[in-house]
Symmetry: C2
Subunit: 488 residues, 2 copies
């Protein structure tokens, strides 16, 4: 396996920010601000010929003038200055340089020539380059927000490399809304020197990284991506989202990242062989990141469904079967157990339909029975994780005193009920840990509650059953890869 040690890139003791600017509209200024805002504990040395200090930080006229060894330099200067700056960094023995600057191979042959020159100089001096044309990197453990946009991701165990800075950075901030936390991120830019293969093999050895996300547009046929991925996939899951799958998308990719989109069918086969889990939508990438980083991988494809109302059970069972999952019938011993708990008209089948039972305790008992049943590998719990809104009847209705009394009574009861989901979710999270089976919660809509379910109770839940089913299908695919004989 390829083995560039990127420790100093993601955990630099200090950073030289070359092209830092006193103008708040310039990227050299904004990046410095982002680094400071992230409370980076190391030292930042702005490098600028003309300024004395930026944001109160002393400026140095050149990298060579910095009175310290430097682990990482970031360049935001115009592109024609980059070659000589890389040389300066080399002479200063700086091991890593992030070239934010664009106008290289993505713009045409001239830029490509300049990019080759820059990389060649780096090679001569042992300087490894991120980019050019990158939005930067993020590292949770070292509080490093060396990024163009002012993104403050949640901390977590998902790491990502992205051939589109925009897509990558938006995944980071979207994660904050969904409760999905990140450990490391790199916008790989044009990959003139360091490539996705280097990032992949580094992240596979990174203990804080549990799941690797990749947004790819072009893959260098000469690179070892697939053999390396095949080894990494044995250790941790790689979720890949491939842009440029079609002619329209491929053309757009060519004009943007400088990469030519390849043959989709060939990529698809290679993803499958190397155990990479390909998702087809941005939502699926986020949803899978959430489940893979928080839940155990199910042992198989048999799904138990529990629901408070028939229709959603039907919808979920349909979608399971359409996605290659199995909804097995309940055996008699399990039916007997449910019979003791549920009103006589319950469904007596999987999906287990509690028929409008809205109490939490029988729901939880049923969930426990399902979890212990050896005939299934995962559970979709419909209506779990709903927070009963605290209805404020009183202010909305006019009526006689007796009506008002009832409304007060109901408001109070609703408030009590609104507290119940916490115990329910706590037990769900514990059940997942004890059984090793993922229990996917579903509460229609209710976007804000899903983040809370995850952060407070380690329960993975989604606003629709279909999103949960898609995630389980991907987890099952990964299980199949893990179960396949290793060729190495």
């Amino acid at each position: 396996m390829n083995s560039v040690d990127l420790d100093k890139l993601f955990n630099p003791r200090n950073i030289a920010l070359v092209g830092a600017s006193g103008n708040p509209a310039k990227w050299g200024h904004i990046i410095l601000l982002n680094i400071l805002k992230g409370n980076y504990p190391g030292t930042v040395y702005p490098v600028n010929l003309k300024e004395e200090a930026i944001l109160g930080y002393k400026c140095y006229p050149s990298v060579g003038d910095i009175p310290d060894t430097v682990d990482l330099a970031m360049l935001t200067t115009p592109s024609h200055l980059v070659p000589s700056l890389i040389e300066e960094c080399g002479k200063k023995n700086i091991p890593f340089v992030i070239v934010i600057t664009s106008d290289f191979s993505e713009t045409g042959p001239e830029g490509a020539e300049l990019e080759r020159e820059v990389v060649e100089i780096g090679r001569r001096y042992g300087v490894r380059i991120v980019g050019p044309n990158t939005m930067g990197i993020f590292s949770s453990k070292s509080n490093l927000h060396a990024l163009m946009p002012p993104v403050m991701p949640l901390n977590g165990s998902v790491s990502m490399f992205s051939q589109s800075g925009n897509v990558g950075v938006q995944m980071l901030s979207w994660g904050t809304e969904e409760g999905v936390g990140f450990e490391k991120f790199v916008s790989s830019g044009n990959e003139g020197d360091l490539t996705c293969v280097d990032y992949l093999s580094y992240l596979s050895r990174d203990e804080a990284t549990r799941v690797i996300l990749a947004y790819l547009e072009g893959i260098d046929p000469g690179a070892d991506l697939f053999p390396v991925a095949r080894e990494v996939s044995r250790i941790k899951p790689i979720l890949v989202f491939k842009g440029g799958r079609t002619e329209a998308g491929g053309k757009a990719a060519a004009s943007h990242s400088g990469a030519m989109a390849g043959e989709t069918r060939i990529y698809r086969a290679a993803f499958i062989q190397s155990g990479m889990i390909e998702v087809k939508t941005s939502q699926a990438l986020m949803d899978c990141a959430k489940a893979f980083s928080n839940y155990p991988i199910p042992m198989g494809k048999r799904v138990g469904i529990i629901t408070r109302g028939g229709g959603w059970g039907v919808i979920t069972a349909d979608f399971c079967e359409e996605n290659g999952l199995i909804v097995p019938p309940l055996p008699m011993d399990i039916i007997d157990k449910f019979d003791k708990l549920l009103p006589k008209y319950w469904s007596r089948s999987n999906p287990v339909d509690l028929v409008a039972t809205i109490a939490y305790d029988p729901y939880l008992e049923c969930l426990e029975i399902l979890t212990e049943w050896e005939g299934i590998d995962a559970i979709i719990a419909l209506g779990a994780g709903i927070r009963v809104p605290e209805y404020k009847y009183s202010k909305e209705v006019k009526g006689p005193k007796e009506l008002m009394n009832t409304i007060d009574f109901l408001t109070k009861m609703m408030k009590e009920r609104a507290k119940k989901p916490d115990k329910m979710l706590e037990s769900m999270g514990a059940l997942v840990k004890r059984s090793g089976k993922p229990i996917i919660g579903v509460a229609i809509g209710a976007e804000a509650t899903h983040k809370m379910n995850l952060e407070r109770f380690q329960v993975v839940s989604y606003p629709t059953p279909e999103r949960g089913v898609r995630v389980l299908r991907q987890m099952y695919k990964y299980r199949r890869f893990l179960n396949s004989p290793s060729t190495t």
Copy 2:
């Protein structure tokens, strides 16, 4: 076309609530409360042998004792009482009865026999029945919340009939989160008497209804659903979500609504022939409801894409092509127009990549150029509708005074920028009206802003580009149906 006049069902002058109860845990009590909470302007007459008054409303011992003509009765009594109560309603000349009570055909042959009896009595007296085993109805215009759950939908132009009460009612409350408003709703229950065909043809004539949603599990082969739908589809779109498409889902449907799921391929063909737009997920049902009820139907399948960053443009173009839409190349005259507005390194192709231009004015000018271009029928505007969060730098960072000054400056600037999207969205909404072309906004994540975009600016936007693409595909399908020769 079938023509039961349901005006008095959806706009009753008064309601008899038979089986109303003083016990707040009983449905007869909760429904009364929901009706009162909805500020229903008519009169409600609770009917209960034992109670004097419920919630301050005088009780009558029987329907016959009510000193007024009655338009609508609702029954929540045990099932064995239903036949004689229908007879009473008949004698009182009540035209419509909603039978909330369950334990009819959905539970087996005995219940089916009781259901036949009830319907037969109704026929004899000219009483039309909703249900049995229904969750009730909703009518926005008459402030009628005759529903079991305490749902308060937004007012709008979407109407729905649902063979699952649960699915229907959750669509109503989900709509509130998404900004999708409803006009009429009926949980059709077992459809012992009135069927989906009756609701469909009534809603097709209802002027306040712009889009019809249907959740179907079983369809009576003897009913005229498809011929009727074929006529209705010429007038307004019918979005259909079919539960019981697979063996697993079909079994669940049989145990729940009492309906046997039919052959999926046959249904599918019938949906297509009758112009019904079939969606495959609950999310798609909601997303389509939103666009179909607020936007014009595009004339064709050619999509213009505008983006602030390359990657999302690639993703959107891929998904368009994978879903049968076309992303045509830009002609020279349009390129010339963009050249005057954009930095030299813009993509010069569709997707139009503004390359990290974050200002609003050039974005809007480009959007106008795209809208006027005759080569496209619809637009996906990536990054439109984003609200720049008001970063509060000051409280998070420690540093020298100069840094604090910059942070204050930026905080102020961000606040100014946060106001800009309003003008942008206002112009977008106006552009849609002027051009007749749908402009789908996309802002990754940002759930809460999409509701506001719709309610304040009549702009339809989604949290991922893929959801927007799926909606445009369905709109194009409907356009193809409208363009097909009518056989009648």
